[in-house]
């Protein structure tokens, strides 16, 4: 069975937007709050010692967004999302750069020098955060 929808020229732009909305509506029941992250078993990560601080990557956010540490601190990122992320220095050239951090994997970097270190996720550049060393 073939169903045809015809839209004449003057209404083109508006009608196209409308159709986009309709298609969005088609899959509505699968979206929304149902996508909230499910509780996940805690990964086996070694306990942090006094010189280590943790940044948790969850739901496409770095937590905490600003981490302040003394010089010499080892910062470890833990990815709790179902997709890979990175911790990549925003500076040019980058002052540190992780490999792909997949689900429940970690990456560590020791910050020796005082300074402000903005970074982001190279897969999802809208994810940004900062390590402040002082």
């Amino acid at each position: 069975m073939l169903r045809v929808v015809s839209i004449s020229s003057p209404a083109l732009a508006g009608a196209t937007l409308l159709l986009a909305g309709l298609f969005a509506g088609c899959s509505k029941p699968l979206g929304g709050a149902e996508n909230a992250p499910a509780p996940r078993p805690q990964p086996a990560v070694e306990a942090a010692d006094a010189g280590e601080r943790r940044v948790v990557v969850d739901n496409f956010r770095f937590d905490p967004p600003v981490l302040t540490v003394p010089p010499g601190t080892k910062v470890t990122w833990v990815n709790r999302d179902d997709v890979p992320h990175t911790a990549t220095s925003s500076d040019s050239p980058p002052k540190f750069r992780s490999r792909a951090i997949d689900t429940d994997e970690t990456f560590s970097h020791v910050f020796s020098q005082p300074g402000t270190y903005p970074y982001f996720c190279a897969v999802h550049p809208k994810m940004t955060a900062t390590v402040v060393v002082k």
Binding site: L2, V5, S6, I7, K28, G32, E34, T86, A100, P125
Partner: protein, 318 residues
Amino acid sequence: MSDETKKQRNGGDGIDRRGFLQCMAWVGTAVVWRMGSGGVLTSSVLGAGKPEEAAGDFCFAQISDSHIGFTKEPNKDVTATLQVAIDRLNRLKTRPELVLHTGDLTHLSRPAEFDTVDQMMRGAKGGPTFYVPGEHDVFTDDGRAYLDRYGKGTKGGGWYSFDHRGVHFVGLVNVMNLKAGGLGVLGGEQLRWLEDDLKGRGSSTPIVVFAHVPLWAVYPKWGWGTEDAAQAVSLLKRFGCVSVLNGHIHQVMQKVEGNVTFHTARSTAFPQPEPGTADSPGPLKSVPAGKLKSLLGLAQVNYRENGGSLAVVDSTLE
């Protein structure tokens, strides 16, 4: 919301109600878009298994976001679903003359993942496959593994163009050198190349542009857009028929801007939420059992020389 409510709310817009309601009842047997020469846009909803309804002078297929290497919910076997897409492509009555893969071939840019994609796409009976990278293909090594494999004969970060049966195809790369807080980006070097590539071509030349991240602002908050896309579109505006095919957002969307029509394709791996309907663009995990394949898919594009019309048929995998 009931179908009846939708019917009332959208009254007076000239849309065929039965076709519309059939669409709402199902998420994606197939949708055909035909751009006619008189500026008339025609949409058809096809029954499942009949994507070849839109005839044309020749046809090509689009596969996107295969994410080989992804192993989580809602799809722990993305190899199997890519194979379903390839099998479906191989069964089309009108054999595609080429295949476009619009990026995120792999999930983690690993050599074994690239190997799998390469071997599987060799099984597609649709002429050569042309690739552009997604951010998942380049983020660990600035694209070296991708370019080693697919960069031959391309420029810069892997962009290129070619002609097929009078249609000019342009593969653009907007996932390299991403900046903190930014969107996809083409960059000055690529835009200069594009200007040069299009120079001297008659405005009646049909153009198909393909790139991973949408070349329009679908939802910048989630990175679903390209910062300097407007500069590329301004170079394309003088052409009478331009189709822009993207992936990245794992769902079908269309937009028309003058003579430029934008389409995004479904993923063969996992669906993502509609813009703004979730906290993040992460995979939709709560797909009801048995419904996954209705949210994955591929696109078939039929080109008809007479009038330069082009129809995109988005098919799901079931």
